[in-house]
């Protein structure tokens, strides 16, 4: 009970600055989606660009007040804010199960996990703000549907096994993506990712433990685990983004060391790590074409349905409307709290003066 009270307290405080609401509580990240990127040479000053690239190539970190090309700043604001939005929207699918977690042990873990996701969103918003974006503009862009978040959070969580699958697969995929971001060229983003990865490490383990319990349970529980894997596997592979060659701004992101590995490389790492874990659970990966290639030492996967990915990004996923409606509702219902907090602070300041 004490934990739950603390959590409610936390949500109240967080709601001041994030517009979050208790009803929204849920999970987590990854969200590098794709829009057209301004050409790098639009930056102008070639000499400045050369100096900047030399710093990047020398593995120097770029800090907020340093000179940087406008396109580097724009790319980072877009990527970091999408990442932040993903953490915040990502709380929704998991929050769906907090009140129905099967045991107290599972409930406190899920609460802690969702609380972490909220914190990760806040670290990331703060990192984006060092690039002169304002927190309010970032929220407003999300709520207006101008900014994106990871496609994965537009899928529903109809059963408890989905909470296991999200921790194991979605957080596992996100970690693959986030660990290299700890070495990203932009200092505040890299530092935020170090904190995130440190806290995130329990998320994947708690998810796998849920799956393990179900896999060792009754036939009905085993079917539930398999069903969750069937539904989450392909959307998780899509989280890494379009195949190399189709990704629109991988080139500049790689050049600027924002991105350290390609979409396909990260996807392959994830598959290689995850397939044996599924086998240990006695579950079947829902890909008839999946096979181990002795020559390369990698698991080869079947064709990914990129049309589904495009549809989800275009707003036509199973839960896009529901997620945005929940965020808007939370923001609207928190408006009086934000106003009251400001009014109280200004009254206190006047009294003190």
């Amino acid at each position: 009970m004490h934990l739950l009270l603390k959590f409610i307290d936390f949500c109240k405080i967080v709601s001041y600055f994030s517009g979050l609401n208790l009803k929204d509580v849920a999970m987590y990240t990854q969200g590098l989606t794709h829009e057209p990127e301004a050409a790098v040479h639009a930056v102008g000053d070639e000499a400045a660009l050369t100096r900047f690239q030399a710093r990047i190539d020398g593995e120097q970190r770029i800090e907020p007040n340093d000179a940087m090309p406008a396109a580097y700043r724009r790319t980072l604001v877009r990527q970091i804010s999408q990442h932040a939005h993903s953490e915040i929207v990502g709380m929704l699918p998991e929050g769906n199960w907090i009140t129905r977690a099967p045991t107290l042990r599972r409930k406190v873990a899920l609460l802690a996990k969702v609380q972490d996701e909220c914190g990760h969103g806040l670290y990331l918003y703060a990192a984006a703000e060092t690039l002169d974006a304002t927190r309010e503009q970032l929220y407003d862009d999300l709520l207006a549907g101008k900014a994106r978040y990871s496609s994965i959070f537009n899928y529903p969580t109809p059963t408890w096994a989905d909470i296991g699958a999200i921790g194991w697969l979605v957080d596992g995929a996100a970690l693959m993506n986030q660990i290299p971001l700890c070495r990203c060229s932009y200092g505040p983003y890299a530092r935020a990712m170090i904190r995130v990865c440190k806290e995130e490490s329990f998320h994947q383990r708690q998810g796998y433990e849920i799956m393990l319990t179900l896999a060792r349970g009754t036939p009905a529980q085993q079917r539930m685990a398999q069903d969750a894997l069937n539904r989450w596997w392909w959307p998780c592979l899509m989280m890494f983004g379009p195949p190399d060659g189709e990704s629109q701004h991988s080139d500049t992101s790689t050049l600027w060391k924002i991105k350290r590995f390609s979409n396909d490389e990260l996807r392959q790492k994830f598959i290689d790590a995850t397939v044996p874990q599924a086998h240990f659970l006695g579950l079947t990966i829902p890909d008839a074409a999946l096979r181990f290639d002795e020559a390369t030492g990698h698991w080869q996967h079947g064709a990914i349905d990129w049309e589904e990915f495009r549809q989800v990004l275009a707003g036509n996923g199973p839960c896009n409307n529901e997620r945005m409606a929940a965020r808007r509702k939370a923001h609207d219902e928190g408006a009086w709290v934000r106003e009251a907090a400001l009014a109280h602070a200004s009254k206190q300041a006047k009294r003190a003066a």
């Binding site: 405080i13 001041y16 670290y123 703000e129 935020a192 206190q348």
Partner: protein, 95 residues
């Protein structure tokens, strides 16, 4: 309606007694009390600290990265400020 702006605060945490407070990040809050509360919830959920400072970001005075050469380069040719500049024979032992 546009979301109203809350002031920005920088957060510093002493991880245990005997160590200095270290910058860990920033957050928005309407006043010092709520900034402290938010800092506790955001940055110390796993026993990361025993003391927190919050400072209004607007109160920080920082050196300009553009002045880096003027500010810091003069120190780099003054190697006589480091102990390794001075020769002490091995026989003398550790000094």
């Amino acid at each position: 309606m546009a979301t109203p702006r809350f002031p920005l605060w920088e957060v510093f945490i002493r991880s245990r007694t005997g160590l200095a407070h270290r910058h860990v990040g920033s957050l928005h809050a309407v006043d010092a009390t709520s900034a402290l509360d938010a800092a506790r919830d955001l940055f110390t959920r796993r026993n990361e600290g025993v003391s927190i400072w919050v400072v209004p970001s607007a109160s920080l005075v920082a050196s300009d990265p553009g002045d880096k050469a003027m500010m810091f380069d003069p120190a780099s040719d003054k190697i006589y400020r480091h102990p390794t500049f001075y020769e002490v024979p091995d026989e003398v032992g550790h000094m």
